[in-house]
């Protein structure tokens, strides 16, 4: 039991700083891209970049990469639930 409690599952300082630099780079990309007119793709690109940023935060900052598999199942279930809610709402809204 004891080894579970003192288990090390954080990243090194270097990894954390690198992820932070990556997140800042993605922020500057998303701000720059917003200035360019991509028509209907603008929102898609912005959300894609936001999703990549979330992936970094969840995996590294929130330690999910180092957690037990059940945590990933939890996140997948809640993510899919949210997606289904969006999907059903839009089905209703668009074909009304």
């Amino acid at each position: 039991m004891e080894h579970n409690n003192t288990e090390k599952h954080g990243g090194s300082y270097t990894t954390l700083v690198l992820v932070w630099i990556g997140l800042l780079a993605l922020t500057s990309i998303t701000v720059t891209v917003a200035g360019i007119s991509l028509g209907q793709y603008t929102l898609f690109v912005a959300l894609l970049i936001a999703a990549v940023k979330s992936g970094f935060v969840i995996n590294i900052f929130m330690h999910i990469k180092f957690e037990e598999p059940i945590f990933k199942v939890f996140i997948a279930v809640s993510g899919i639930t949210l997606f289904v809610i969006f999907l059903l709402t839009f089905f209703d809204f668009i074909y009304r």
């Binding site: 003192t6 954390l16 997140l23 917003a34 970049i49 979330s54 809640s78 969006f86």
Partner: protein
Amino acid sequence: MASNIEATISIEQQAHRDDVGARMGMWLFLFTEILLFGGMFLIYAVYRYQYPDQFHLAGMELNTGIGTLNTIILLTSSLTMALSIAAIQKKNKALSIIMLSSTLLFALLFMVNKFFEWSAKISHGIFPGSKELLEKQNGEILFFGLYYVMTGLHAFHIIIGIVILTFMLVFLIRNKITSDNYVKLENSGLYWHLVDLIWIFLFPLFYLIQ
């Protein structure tokens, strides 16, 4: 015999601590938060689909610069939070305290920016129910309504985060959080990263409509 019993008790006390379970509980709470904000993002999505041009028009009025600055501040605060946990894992209490204090400082900076941002909007007469806002088109009224509710609820989470992290700082200084018992700090970190995560989506949806 007596020392044997004491040893058994102390082992049991350690066995009763389940850090994985504690983190799992925190994640379950975070999912309720995701559903709370998810519902609002859903309302945003439907109305943006219904009034794309008016959302565009209203979004142009937001200050992209201050939004970007707040994004950088929150991302940096997430880094210092993660570093604070990494430091306590590596038995470096002093660094952990410095990093946690920096997180608090960035959180306060975020709120100062938010104050100036909202003050500017309110002084221009744009706030829920204001005469100027109600003269605008439906889509614009909805955009600003969602802007105030969503960034407001987010800012409220930042304030709660500031209170929680202040407690963690006191625990850290008083050795209630140590290198072999830091799950409180980890769970506060999870909360703080979630607040950052929500901002990652709020930022492009409100400030980057150009």
